[in-house]
Symmetry: C2
Subunit: 244 residues, 2 copies
């Protein structure tokens, strides 16, 4: 075992070719009934002035793990502290970054739009963009492809999980929740079936009554137990898949 200690003492990581290692994030929220994603404008080379997903290098001295890097980036850009954060995939090759062989670990975050610190987004070159526009415009590096992957994952999960809850504040009506699902799935859902499934999952509990947004007030619900990454209820998976 002292031989292993000797080995480690003499180990020099910089002998190996350096790989650029970053974390990139697709931060989603709902605004005006549409899915939006946060984009930032690069301040320095490479791709200076172009728009990208927020992200940056892993800091081995400050970040205890990859998720901490992602959380740090998210808080820097939005002020949100405890979002839903999920790793999507990693992409690594020799061509995606002109500086050399690079790897990025892609996360997506779901946040309640109301929880975003309003100041930051105007000071920095940061903006919320409707998803379709973001996918149309040419993002730097391979960030269009990254955004597509994050979107596909999010939409797939909307078909069988309670994940879209994370795009709402802690109290909400079923109509609001249904609308979020409809935005993600790109399809209208049957009201009765939706209520049946959501309520029979024993995920929500009633509270009081709500602001009369238009006519009859709706019951306000809150989450009764935490929605983890693996939670799935049967049913929504049968909805037809949405376009793209």
């Amino acid at each position: 075992m002292s031989r292993e200690a000797d080995y480690l003492a003499g180990y020099d990581p910089s002998r190996f070719p350096a790989l650029l290692t970053t974390v990139d994030m697709a931060i989603f929220c709902i605004r005006d009934g549409k899915l939006h994603v946060l984009l930032v404008q690069r301040a320095s080379f490479p791709a200076r002035g172009e728009w990208t997903l927020p992200g940056g290098f892993v800091d081995p001295t400050g970040d205890i793990n990859l998720e901490a890097t992602a959380g740090r980036k998210l808080t820097e850009k939005t002020g949100v502290m405890t979002p839903y954060l999920e790793q999507v995939c990693s992409v690594g090759n020799s061509t995606r970054d002109p500086r050399g062989w690079s790897i990025t670990v892609l996360y997506f975050a779901l946040i309640d739009q109301a929880a975003v610190a309003p100041g930051n987004a105007d000071v920095e070159a940061v903006q919320w963009v409707p998803l379709e526009e973001a996918l149309d415009q040419t993002l730097a590096f391979d960030h269009c492809e990254l955004l597509r992957r994050a979107t596909r994952r999010l939409r797939a999960k909307a078909r069988y999980s309670a994940l879209p809850l994370k795009l709402l504040p802690s109290q909400f009506t079923l109509a609001e929740l249904q609308q979020v699902f409809e935005v993600l799935l790109g399809a209208k859902l049957e009201r009765k079936s939706f209520r049946r499934r959501i309520l029979s999952a024993n995920l929500l509990e009633e509270t009081g009554r709500l602001q009369p947004t238009s006519r009859r007030p709706a019951m306000v619900y809150r989450l009764i137990r935490e929605v983890d990454e693996d939670f799935a209820f049967p049913g929504l998976i049968h909805s037809k898949p949405s376009e793209l």
Copy 2:
């Protein structure tokens, strides 16, 4: 734009703290009606002599992308060239490797046990281990946790996708296929329901007749179209989840 070229010419990646970047693999096959995973014994420090998942450093000069690294490792250990390969997740933190902050990208591979080159496994310190044993025994680094994650992904996919097909040769009977699903799900499936779902997915076509394994011969099927990562059929998802 020449300023960007200047920037790139003067860019030195080694200014940044080095991160150890590896790819690890959970290579699964079915042997004797049980799910097995390939383990290797480490030949050098750190953790010399201990068992791990096969894996190794990304080679920026040889591998064009992460999947190429994974494919290279797989072929080295098994001789299999075109397996089903799927990225599970990446784990990066400061504690998982004694040499420093390290990231691993985890893949799993599904192969037909009959396609494995038989020679290699005996020469090297490589062995197929029943999954339960592998999870029980103490693997080096965080490889127990990695193996658990790969297993969870595989088992989850067996509930709604046609993925388990990749554990069989190109021709197979429905009884064999059902047995693979049962092994992965850890539960008996209803024969009639299973046949209904598989056949109504229009994935298989009939061929001729088969060896009388025991009594009445069974129809041999083959895949009619490729099963990609996202293919899902309704139904199997309702099966009760298996233990662990």
